[in-house]
Symmetry: D2
């Protein structure tokens, strides 16, 4: 299992046709290559069934896209934290806007992730909800205004106040919690802006997965992160 | 519309056969009578369809059991805050353990309640989730360990640390938020204990609704509240 | 309670700002007036809290927009069939595309409607799902391709094969079940086409609720129904 | 990929601690061994992340516990049929009582399974719901009264009328659909009874997974199937 480091560029493969099965492994290998070249941590979140192969064949941190707030037992069709961990995952998204959870279940899923040693990234939609999520004490939150997801205009440009407002509120509530941001991230400038607003990384999907030249985009994102770090 | 005052005894009629239709009005009248005798605020939360009649015929604050995080529009089968308000409600429960919501929807429903002037009571299951709910800035939270609901052993006796832990965490996160507690409340002693632990009221259901002598239980609860206030 | 007759024009008020509270009563009165003038059954489905007032003040059949598959008990925020019935409703929608239910819960809700004497209208999205719903033995199904809802192009024009395909499949599975159709219905021609395709009524919402002249639209719809009947 | 044959004994690993990761492979190997000895088809349904390893290392048909009714796209945390298929699965459960789906989503998931070539087994709770599911045209339905799941009293003994009623109704609606039954199956006698009632297999979980001697139970189940076949 590969170390998760900050700043973090986390690529969500969703259920994209371009990023499951053997294509999941290929894309993860591009992430690995760029991560090594630039010294920037790039993690990937493939389909559940692709976690074992990606984790076995590629040196990048692997995240599940979701885990359930359950312990072992009679939970057909649910995702058991222990199974995800044994399959090679380092962490998990929780409450992505495409897989929202009940509040009590977010708390339960974060607790399960902690118990088995998975990094938990709770996705949120605005500063107030981010504050609520921070009170639950996950490893990180990732604020993503749903209306910007997949549209190619980065949250860090379109709604910088959502990002900085989240950073401020989360610091007040629970300063241990890392803040990422997502929605519309497609290039290095977006990562740069996100880090300048006080986040420690980005969560993105289509910007990389759907790119004609996935490796070029990954390079640009990594360079954006480096640029932001240098100026700190 | 009747004023909501603290301490608050809030009676949830759920979908109990003993408390819908004309029986909802009767039970609300018992609450009104006892509230006036003791000078303690007793509110009721009947079925949606019973809100107008209870609000029109009885002088007690009426709560909805749930509202949806929606504005006016194409939302068949959803509960519009404006409609609940116009029907005569003073407030609403949100996220009861029998009607859990997504985190983002809790935030949305609390915002809608505020916009139309409804008191919002967000139900929670433990201190951490209560802290998260408090970050969302509702009027009140009501902590209720689900395993104690309907079992006749009061949370204020069985798990006082859940109640006091919630009071402490909520005060840290957002001291404007009122804390109620529920689950297993059946007698005045339970109300007394709850208020002594720092709450400002209780939420209960079967303890009153299913009682042989509903009025006697209401009196006992009101007396419990008075006893706690006197000793403050 | 007013008799439900065929063909049926069922107006869903959803959570529209134009159709709750006193506006729900006003719109229902327009439906009553037109229904009496034309001798065509027009039913209305307002917000839950508006059911009692509409049922008390207007002579039209009133439908709930949803009921839950529950008996009396500890179901906070759920809609009890008995309460809806006592409030004056004649029937209920079930599984509207904006309030989809689990399959087992559709069966449960239809059973509850039957037990308390409510007409059940199960909404469906295509012929196969309509066939499945018919197997559950509701009073009626209403097929509505979700992509056409609220867009002003009637299903009976845009996708007549969905309507006739549903009529055929439902007849094979369970010929007792009435077929309605909805989505995009805005004028008398749409009703006419729907009845000619073998349905016994229509379900619509914005076409009436959002109309500048609601009464004129209601008249046009009723006339469309009459025209179709005359030519039978 | 191994052929799925009838009668079918389908073992659901759920999220049991005894059946994930390396233990999933071990249990699947016991199923393989017994299946070969007895010439009876035994399939397994492990956690999503365990599908690739089980499918690669063991010669038994592998089922997913659930797939989502989605095509490739922006569906974080959802299960893509194509990914499950490429990982080596032969089929999938849909709508298990622990993972119920909306009616429209059952239809969608069955369609997706068909498109990618996965056997679909739609779980149901009673004859009427089974009839509805059959109208959707899955490969099989598996009727399981939820109150009997995990309790060690077989549906084929405790409620034979549920099984035979389902067989009858499903035959009427869609005679192409295979009927399995589940809930409480723990021994060969239960399989025997199930097949005699007209089913073509069983779905079970704890009876095998939680058994002290898993292989002995698998042998007993396989023998029960053989006994029923001989007497046909």
């Amino acid at each position: 299992m590969i170390k998760v480091e900050l700043p973090l560029i986390l690529i969500n493969f969703k259920a994209y046709i371009e990023a499951y099965g053997s294509k999941a492994v290929e894309l993860a290998k591009k992430a690995e290559k760029v991560a090594k070249e630039y010294g920037v941590c790039i993690a990937v979140a493939p389909q559940y069934v692709d976690i074992p192969k990606v984790a076995a064949e590629v040196e990048v941190p692997v995240f599940a896209q979701h885990i359930d707030p359950i312990g072992g037992g009679a939970w057909t069709g649910h995702v058991l934290a222990e199974a995800v961990k044994e399959a090679g995952a380092s962490g998990t998204l929780i409450n992505h806007s495409e897989r929202r959870l009940l509040l009590a279940d977010i708390e339960g899923a974060v607790a399960r992730a902690r118990e088995v040693g998975l990094f938990s990234v709770v996705c949120t939609n605005n500063p107030k909800v981010s504050a609520a999520a921070a009170a639950i004490d996950p490893w990180a939150i990732a604020v993503e205004p749903p209306e910007l997801i997949g549209h190619g205009v980065a949250v860090s440009k379109a709604k910088p106040e959502v990002v900085s407002g989240t950073v401020d509120l989360v610091r007040k509530i629970n300063s241990n919690v890392i803040v990422l941001c997502g929605a519309g991230i497609v290039e290095g400038q977006d990562v740069h802006a996100a880090l300048k607003l006080g986040t420690q990384g980005v969560l993105l999907a289509s910007g990389v997965v759907k790119a004609k030249d996935q490796e070029a985009v990954l390079r640009d994102l990594a360079q954006g992160a480096l640029n932001a770090l240098e100026k700190r």
